[in-house]
Every structure is written in structure tokens, then in C-alpha cells.
């Protein structure tokens, strides 16, 4: 406790000795992107960051997922334990029968009653993980993940292919609006903004994907907002 008190005492002594720094709270809020540009900005940035986006609908996204798994010859997929997982498993078993399905339904240490198996399973034998974005940030091209029992932290991190389901109706302009909207709400254990597959430019400024996290990011984009073009057609 003494280190704490000493540090705070020194800081308090400094605070009284000087005039308070000019606060610039009077600055207007940061300008945000007009809504008409959200979708195109997001798509553009995600493509630039090497994410693959497949557009689908609320009715057919499970079928789209099965098609993508088949196309990419994914051997195994890890699913979170969510309300829709049972139905999803049935669809995938029927439509993507070559894919081994696993459900993340017990702790990483004691997975399926087998101590230590999950970690090595995750690191060695899982090709893909399926996650669900709770929000989408247009300005920076980011997907928001909130971790918890239904969105384990490692699910979107360890498997080489991260698949994230995102809904257009969850899109907001960007960081400023998202943070303002979160104020006062409880924080998840991890609040994550994901803006592409894992990458590094540490060797001679040369970009390489798949540094430590997923090598690929596949976004299943659910078109659940009637766009102006669709409305007019």
C-alpha cells in the first residue's frame, strides 16, 4: 500500500502546484460518416484488409456457410454454444457433411470431460471458428465481438480461419457513436474490434497475413436492411 500512497501523494502535490490544464471540452464532437456511405466504406476497408465478404440473407446464411465450408474444404469447424447452434448443426450435417463439427460447450481445460484436450484440439485440429458480431463500425471497417459463454475468446483467435456473421442492421458510423452508445452499459470480459485477419509488417515493412491469429477472415454479411437500390428496383 505504501507505494500506492506515495505515488498518489506525489501526484496530488503536483496537482495543487499548477494550474489545471486547459480542457477543450467545448470542441464539437468528431464528424461522423454519413449513413449513405457506411456500407460501401465498410466493404472497401475490409477488402483492403484482405477479409473475404460473402453476402447472404437472414434466411439463407446457414446454407451460405455450408457452401463456403465446402468450397474451402474446411475439415473442422468449432461452434459456440448458442440457441441456434442445434439447428445450425443439423443444416451443416446435411449440407456440409465433410466438415467435423465441434461445440465449445465446456471449459478449455476440461473439454468433453477430457482434461487438457481442448487446448491442443483448438491449436492443432480446428480449422475454423464461427463467431457473431454484435455491431459493425463503418468508418474503420471493424466488427465488434463481445466475449462470454456464447462467444469464447479463443474461438475467433486460434483457428486459422475465423468466420464472423455480421448483420447490416447492426452497423453504426464508427468509434465515436459506438462508444457513446456503450456508455453506462456493462462491459463484456473482452470487447473486441476485429478489422481483418491477423497480420504483421515487422520484417522489412513487408505485409504478411496470419501472424499469430487467423490467417483468413470470412465475413457472412447478412443484408437485412432494404438498401435504396433494392427499394427502387
Amino acid at each position: 500500500m505504501s507505494a500506492r500512497n506515495n505515488i498518489l501523494a506525489r501526484l496530488r502535490a503536483g496537482q495543487t502546484n499548477q494550474t489545471t490544464a486547459s480542457s477543450r471540452d467545448e470542441l464539437p464532437p468528431l464528424a461522423t460518416l454519413p449513413e449513405a456511405q457506411w456500407r460501401s466504406r465498410f466493404m472497401e476497408l475490409m477488402a483492403a484488409n484482405h477479409a473475404d465478404i460473402v453476402e447472404t440473407t437472414a434466411q439463407s446464411w446457414q446454407q451460405t456457410l455450408a457452401d463456403e465450408l465446402n468450397k474451402r474444404q474446411v475439415g473442422s469447424l468449432l461452434l459456440a454454444n448458442r440457441a441456434e447452434t442445434g439447428a445450425l448443426k443439423d443444416t451443416l450435417a446435411a449440407q456440409a457433411s465433410a466438415v467435423a463439427l465441434q461445440v465449445f460447450d465446456s471449459s478449455v481445460e476440461h473439454w468433453q470431460g477430457n482434461p487438457g484436450s481442448m487446448r491442443s484440439q483448438l491449436f492443432s485440429n480446428t480449422d475454423a471458428g464461427l463467431s457473431y458480431a454484435s455491431a459493425v463500425l463503418a468508418e474503420t471497417g471493424s466488427l465488434v465481438l463481445e466475449t462470454g459463454p456464447q462467444e469464447p475468446r479463443t474461438l475467433s483467435l486460434v483457428p486459422p480461419l475465423s468466420i464472423i456473421v455480421a448483420r447490416e442492421s447492426d452497423m453504426v458510423s464508427g468509434l465515436t457513436d459506438y462508444m457513446a452508445g456503450r456508455a453506462g452499459k456493462a462491459m463484456p470480459t473482452n470487447l473486441l474490434f476485429v478489422s481483418g485477419p491477423s497480420k504483421t509488417a515487422d520484417i522489412q515493412q513487408t505485409l504478411a497475413y496470419g501472424a499469430h491469429g487467423p490467417k483468413s477472415l470470412l465475413i457472412l454479411w447478412i443484408n437485412d436492411v432494404a438498401s435504396s437500390e433494392e427499394a427502387s428496383s
Binding site: 496537482q15 491449436f123 465515436t176 470487447l191 474490434f193 491477423s198 504483421t200 499469430h212
Partner: protein, 528 residues
């Protein structure tokens, strides 16, 4: 003839090359600043690496700030956001502690680097932990955590690609954001081939392909993440109201280090706290743009606690170590306080012409470049101006760092003040000075006398005229060399006539005493 004609590179020759680089680094580290700078300047490979990196990072930053007015507005906001936090620092730290604790994060306070190391080692000992994987953390470099833990039998592995390579080379980071920019890919290929082993225990196959190099390092480090007892990370921002640690990264090693091992220990300086989530957007907009020219990093991870009862993964313990190590002293000084606004983006070093030429290692400090020149003498663990007095002269006073800084730290002014203090007589040190430990250490009697003479001469017109007259008359007698000035420059020759003489001849001034009159005449002309 060319390298491509060679088949398999000779393992022994490559090992020797890598060992030679390690030896050169150790040799350089043991030298005096001026020798280090000289060695760096003479190393063409090193210079090419830094030139390339500086040009690349400057261009990247420019591309994400296309509008100068918008950039200036963002810098105003960044500065304001950091000043708001600092204005309430003790309260925010207490609020942070309360909320982190409520979230189940254990908070520790360290006044010194040694205390921080002891706390981290204590946590490990209490949990019988033997291995650490580290995300990128400059504060852990500042306190030399790896040395401390390794001396106590704990394996510490860096997991940021750049940091990993630097550790493999037995060197130190040369940049706070891109630690291994001093090496090119050929050097890194040699390093990986001769020093890294695959998870099967074989030497990593030789390849200069960056995807191969990253793929090989990935395979090695993944195994370590899976097995490590503890993950150590830094923190980019700590949010007081929610008890949240925010980390930015591209690689995923930060997420790995803070997610997979059973214990996560975060270590950061006390200045990193902000009040609320709404303080985040402005700083998060500035940090990656200023650092690497990205709109946002691949991952922004906001950690608000260890694994909850119903959660299936994540660390069971999360610890936060708050380090002072001289920061409260900086906080107490009105001139130095803005230094704590720093968000560690590295833009100042990316824009520093001196850094681009001598590179990060020449500074010999954890934080190189302009921010390093200002911060290092203030860190309790770094030995003040006494140990770092020479590096503050590594500045051409061009001011680029001040223009690049996203939070408007007056770096050029601070560097100039530190330089003045380093040569000021100790007797003149007072409360207004930056009172870095070891002020006056650069004072040389000869230099001080020369400047006193210069000062006297400029205060007494008669002496000035006599002096300049003597220089013009005796110009033929000037020596051809005047070391150290002429070591890298040619000797200037005084003009045949003084400025006053030339002015008189041009009819600008009628007599030697009419300089003031001349001046007022010109002012009058300008007004008319």
C-alpha cells in the same frame, strides 16, 4: 557470382554472420554515445534499413491524414483528451483501481522498476509459474523484466514478431513500434535459420520469403502460447470508469498472451489512464494512424476482467502493475508534464532526421528518438542526464518531431531546454529547470569560456568591431583544420570585409556607430 546461384547457404558461415551481428550489437552497446552514433553511421546496411523504414512510415502516415486542417483538429483533440486525463490523474487512478478491483483484476503499484519486477516475480512464484509469453510492452523493456525473470530461472519469450526476432538475435528493440526495423530480410532469414528450431527440433529451413519467415515463427510461438504459465502485456489505455485495459495490435499475439495462459499480468505507466469510453475514439483515431498509417489496428482488445464463472476460456487471474519510475516527478513539473501525454506511437522518431541516420540502438535507451531524449533522463531507472547527457545533443533542432506528435508534446522545446541545462553551471539550477539528475554534466570549461567570450563581444560594440576587424585582416592566418569541426566539414574562411564595412560601402550605414539609426530608417521605410 550472385547469391541466387548458390545452392544451400552454408550453415556455419551463416551462424558466424549472425554471431558477428550479435557481437557488433554488444560492442556498440558498451560504447559511448558518440562512438555508437559513429558506428551506426558507418554501417551501410543499417542506414539503408532505417532510411527505408522512415520513408515508408512517413508516407503511410501522410496517406491517412490527407487533410491538413483535419489533422490539426485531431491533434487538438488528442492533446485535449490527454490533458483532461492528466489534470485528474490521481482521481482517475483511484477510480481505475476501484473498478478494476470490482471486475476481479488485481491492482499493484510500483514506485520503481525493481518494485515492478518484484511484484511480477512474486505473482509468478505464488503460482509456481515457470514460463512467460510476452505481448509487446515497452514498459517491460523499461524495467528490464526479461533479465530480472531469467536470472530467477523463468523463461521469458517475446511473441511480437519483431520482438521475437530481436530476442533471438540477443539485441534490443530499435524502435518502439517496429522493434526489428534495423534488420533486412536477408539478415532475418539467417537469424531464423541458425537460431530458431521448429517444434520438431529441426533448424528452420533457410528462406528469405517473408511469408515463410512469419509462418515459421508462427508455428514456434503457437506452441509456446499453448503451454505458457503466464502472459505479460502492456496497455495502450486504461479506462477508469469501466475498469478496462485497452490494447491495440495487428498480429494477434497480444490477444494470445492475454487470453490463453492461465494468468495475465499487464504492466503500464501511471499516465495511461483515461476517464471513460468516450475518451477513447479521439486517441484511438490518432494512435494507429500516427504509428503505422493504419485507420485502426487489426485488433483492439478491451479487457475488463478475468474469466467469469460461466465462461469457458480466458485467464483465471488478471493483474495490473502500475509503474511510476519517475513519472510522478514529471507530473510535478509544468514543463515536463506534457511528456506524459505521450501515446507511444513513434511518429516523432519516424520523422526525426537524426533517428533516420543513426537508428534506435545508438541512443542506448529503451525509448529512442525525440521522445526518448526527453523521457529517458527523467526515468528513475535510467540514470538521468548523468548517464544520458550525450543523446540529447542528437538533434538538429529542426522541429519535425514537434510537428508530427499527435498530442502536441513540445518536444523541440524540451530537448532544447535539456541541452541548455546539461551545459548550465550547477549553481544556476533552480526550481524552474527540468532538474534532470546530472544537470550540468555536459559543461566543459573551454566551451563555456568560448561562449562567455562570444557573449561579451556581442554586448560591447567596440570589442565586436575589433574582433571582426581582426578576423578579416588575419583571414590568411586561419588554420586549415580545426578539429572536431573540420573532421566532417571544410574550414570556413572569414570574408575579406566585415558586414559593417560592406554596409557602409553600400550606403546603408554612414558610420560604424549608426547601426541603430540604420535599423530605424529601414523600419520607417517599411512602414511608408
Amino acid at each position: 557470382m550472385s547469391e541466387s546461384n548458390m545452392t544451400q547457404p552454408n550453415f556455419i558461415e551463416l551462424t558466424e554472420a549472425v554471431n558477428r551481428e550479435e557481437h557488433e550489437f554488444a560492442d556498440m552497446a558498451s560504447r559511448h554515445f558518440k562512438v555508437r552514433a559513429q558506428m551506426a553511421l558507418e554501417n551501410d546496411t543499417l542506414r539503408a534499413s532505417f532510411r527505408g523504414a522512415s520513408d515508408f512510415l512517413q508516407a503511410k502516415r501522410k496517406s491517412v491524414f490527407p487533410d491538413q486542417a483535419e489533422l490539426e483538429d485531431l491533434r487538438d483533440r488528442g492533446e485535449a483528451a490527454r490533458q483532461r486525463s492528466l489534470a485528474n490523474l490521481p482521481e482517475l487512478l483511484e477510480l481505475l483501481e476501484t473498478n478494476l478491483t470490482a471486475n476481479g483484476v488485481q491492482v499493484h503499484w510500483a514506485e520503481t522498476a525493481t518494485q515492478a519486477n518484484q511484484i511480477i516475480h512474486g505473482i509468478m512464484a505464488a503460482n509456481n509459474a515457470k514460463t512467460v509469453v510476452k505481448g509487446k510492452s515497452m514498459v517491460s523493456e523499461e524495467i528490464e523484466l526479461n533479465h530480472y525473470l531469467e536470472a530467477r530461472g523463468i523463461e521469458c519469450l517475446e511473441s511480437d514478431m519483431g520482438e521475437y526476432l530481436v530476442q533471438l538475435a540477443k539485441e534490443a528493440p530499435s524502435h518502439i513500434v517496429m522493434p526489428v526495423i534495423h534488420k533486412n530480410k536477408q539478415q532475418i532469414a539467417q537469424l531464423m535459420h541458425t537460431r530458431a528450431t521448429t517444434p520438431d527440433g529441426e533448424p528452420v529451413p533457410y528462406s528469405e520469403d517473408v511469408d515463410d519467415l512469419i509462418g515459421n515463427a508462427r508455428a514456434i510461438l503457437r506452441q509456446k502460447f499453448e503451454q505458457a504459465d503466464v502472459g505479460v502485456s502492456g496497455v495502450n489505455m486504461a479506462i477508469a470508469e469501466t475498469g478496462t485495459l485497452l490494447l491495440v495490435e495487428n498480429e494477434g499475439n497480444g490477444r494470445m498472451s492475454t487470453t490463453v495462459p492461465p494468468i495475465h499480468i499487464a504492466v503500464t505507466g501511471i499516465e495511461k489512464v483515461v476517464r471513460s469510453l468516450t475518451d477513447v475514439p479521439e486517441l484511438l483515431t490518432l494512435l494507429p494512424r500516427s504509428a503505422t498509417g493504419q485507420l485502426i489496428t487489426t485488433y483492439v482488445n478491451m479487457i475488463s476482467g478475468p474469466r467469469k464463472a460461466d465462461e469457458l476460456d480466458g485467464p483465471e487471474q488478471v493483474h495490473m502493475v502500475l509503474l511510476d519510475n519517475g513519472r510522478s516527478k514529471m507530473f510535478n513539473h509544468p514543463d515536463l508534464k506534457p511528456t506524459l501525454q505521450c501515446i507511444r506511437c513513434g511518429a516523432c522518431m519516424n520523422h526525426c532526421p537524426v533517428y533516420a541516420r543513426i537508428g534506435g540502438h545508438a541512443y542506448g535507451s529503451t525509448y529512442p528518438g525525440p521522445i526518448g531524449q526527453v523521457v529517458t533522463p527523467q526515468l528513475d531507472s535510467a540514470g538521468g542526464l548523468g548517464a544520458n547527457g550525450d543523446m540529447i545533443n542528437a538533434c538538429s533542432l529542426n522541429g519535425a518531431c514537434g510537428e508530427a506528435c499527435p498530442v502536441r508534446i513540445p518536444l523541440p522545446t524540451l530537448i532544447r531546454k535539456l541541452r541548455a541545462e546539461s551545459v548550465a553551471p550547477v549553481a544556476t539550477q533552480h526550481d524552474g529547470t527540468l532538474h534532470a539528475n546530472g544537470a550540468g554534466r555536459n559543461r566543459r570549461m573551454k566551451e563555456a569560456l568560448i561562449w562567455q567570450g562570444w557573449s561579451q563581444m556581442h554586448r560591447h560594440p567596440a570589442v565586436y568591431r575589433l574582433g571582426t576587424r581582426a578576423m578579416t585582416l588575419g583571414r590568411a592566418l586561419m588554420p586549415g583544420k580545426l578539429a572536431p569541426w573540420t573532421n566532417t566539414r571544410s574550414m570556413p574562411k572569414p570574408a575579406a570585409k566585415t558586414l559593417h564595412q560592406l554596409a557602409r560601402e553600400a550606403g546603408i550605414a554612414s558610420s560604424a556607430t549608426s547601426t541603430l539609426t540604420g535599423k530605424s530608417t529601414r523600419t520607417a521605410e517599411a512602414k511608408s
